[in-house]
Symmetry: C2
Subunit: 211 residues, 2 copies
DNA sequence: CCATTCTTGTGCAAACAATCACATAAAATG
DNA sequence: CATTTTATGTGATTGTTTGCACAAGAATGG
């Protein structure tokens, strides 16, 4: 491991590599060259090699990378060799889709608790039999279940307040689906999944092309 | 307008600015300085000014930017001064959340047709009364309704094949929710909304911190 | 109407990221 | 066992993005 700073884009790509390798392993492929892996992920082959080189020498010259071994290493780097416990805040349309999505669990991400403010929802159970908790239980449950990641799926207007509650409850990282930029204190991580920004990007490119 | 190349990160930020300005307009704010706008969006003030400068001089020195006017300009740049017609492919958990989401329409994005392969779904109507079409109708409906954007919410294994059908049907841009990298012919645009990559990013940072 | 204050627009340097090109090492070949 | 082939790892290079620092323009106030 080299102790230079790792480009953030590298981390994003490692995630893509891991996914591609998972796919290759399913397809009984044992060895892959940087060319092929790069093509599968839509990046430059040298990029693949350089990204990996930040963390060690995983390949064999003249041969390529052993799929299983490389996947193991990347998962270790990303911290995917363990289970991550998450809380979902706001069980509306999107929240329901998220907790129903079984791929997260396969990847090691588990929604261990679900919260909402709507009195019509609190106290009921999801189809999965999971209980919907009120926000007053947040801190206790986060502590009890050692939850580290909070997922915000509340309306945008409530997202910042929700983030504060999550921080107060002892959560370290937030994945935010609400279309607002959330301000966090030093040392906490937020990442946004932003549908509209992506659509705007498409709209811009379509508009440009037409000119 | 300067005919230098526009950084793609600039386009992403324009989307954030537009959202922040919308919010400010709601709050009856008429004028905003780059400092404040930057803070709201979590970027550097000089960045805001430079991003805008690619497209023109929208501010008044010593004063700031007129919120309404700047919002209008940014929307024009991004192509948000019109309606965009979209097709949704794959009406599962996520697809249902997407079509139910009324914010898209407010922003000018409309799902004008919904498709699936499941014979139990095709021919039925959504709660919104929208018909679920079979994939055999794709091309005809894309043409008839002049759909330009395709949204893929099928399982990952079906995403590439679906993308090909969309291209064949005459669609120009795709927003892909499936966790795979989609290969597209020259001149077509794909963008991915990638939940897992974001989670992996959080996992990595949490893992690093702990070291 | 000059001085002061404020905030934009931008040239330039620094930081960051992607790509090329080749030395290096392992395997295959004859 | 020398030679060729293959594909990694990485220094050098090129390209892109960000951020500083300040000149320039607009309003304000005495
Ligand atoms: N549904 C989509 O496809 C979609 C797409 C893009 C963005 N989003 C964003 O995701 C978020 C959720 O979307 P949705 O469609 O599920 O909305 P929704 O209205 O269906 O669900 C929101 C849920 O949050 C709960 N809630 C409200 N305030 C809360 C609070 N302070 N604390 C806890 N829970 C609270 C509500 O009771 C409700 O159950 C929104 O910010 C939306 O803009 C959704
Ligand atoms: N649900 C989530 O929160 C979530 C989160 C992250 C990623 N995703 C991704 O989004 C996609 C959809 O997820 P989901 O949870 O809605 O899955 P889902 O299984 O609930 O729905 C998929 C739908 O696609 C339809 N479909 C299958 N093959 C098709 C084809 N060839 N053409 C058209 N339709 C087809 C199915 O009939 C089904 O209705 C998946 O790729 C998933 O990995 C979902």
């Amino acid at each position: 491991m080299k102790f230079s700073k790792i480009p953030s884009a590298t981390i994003t790509r490692l995630s893509l590599y891991s996914r591609a390798l998972e796919d290759l392993m399913h397809g009984q492929v044992n060895i892959i060259a940087s060319d092929k892996l790069a093509q599968k992920c839509g990046v430059n082959p040298a990029q693949v090699r350089k990204d990996l080189a930040y963390f060690g020498e995983f390949g064999v010259r003249g041969v390529g990378y052993f799929v299983k071994e490389l996947l193991f290493e990347i998962k270790k780097i990303l911290g995917l060799n363990r289970r991550w416990r998450m809380a979902l805040i706001g069980i509306g349309n999107l929240g329901l889709a998220l907790v129903a999505h079984e791929n997260f669990l396969k990847q090691g991400y588990e929604f261990v608790a679900v919260f909402d403010v709507d009195p019509k929802k609190v106290g009921r159970r999801l189809p999965s039999m999971q209980m919907i908790h009120g926000m007053d239980e947040l801190e206790a449950i986060v502590k009890e279940k050692q939850i580290e990641i909070g997922v915000i799926a509340t309306p945008a207007s409530q997202a910042q307040a929700t983030a504060r509650l999550l921080v107060a409850a002892g959560i370290k990282a937030i994945l935010n689906f609400a279309p607002v930029q959330i301000q966090m204190p030093e040392g906490f991580i937020v990442d946004n999944v932003d549908f509209t920004v992506k659509l705007d990007n498409l709209a811009y490119h379509l508009t440009m092309e037409a000119v």
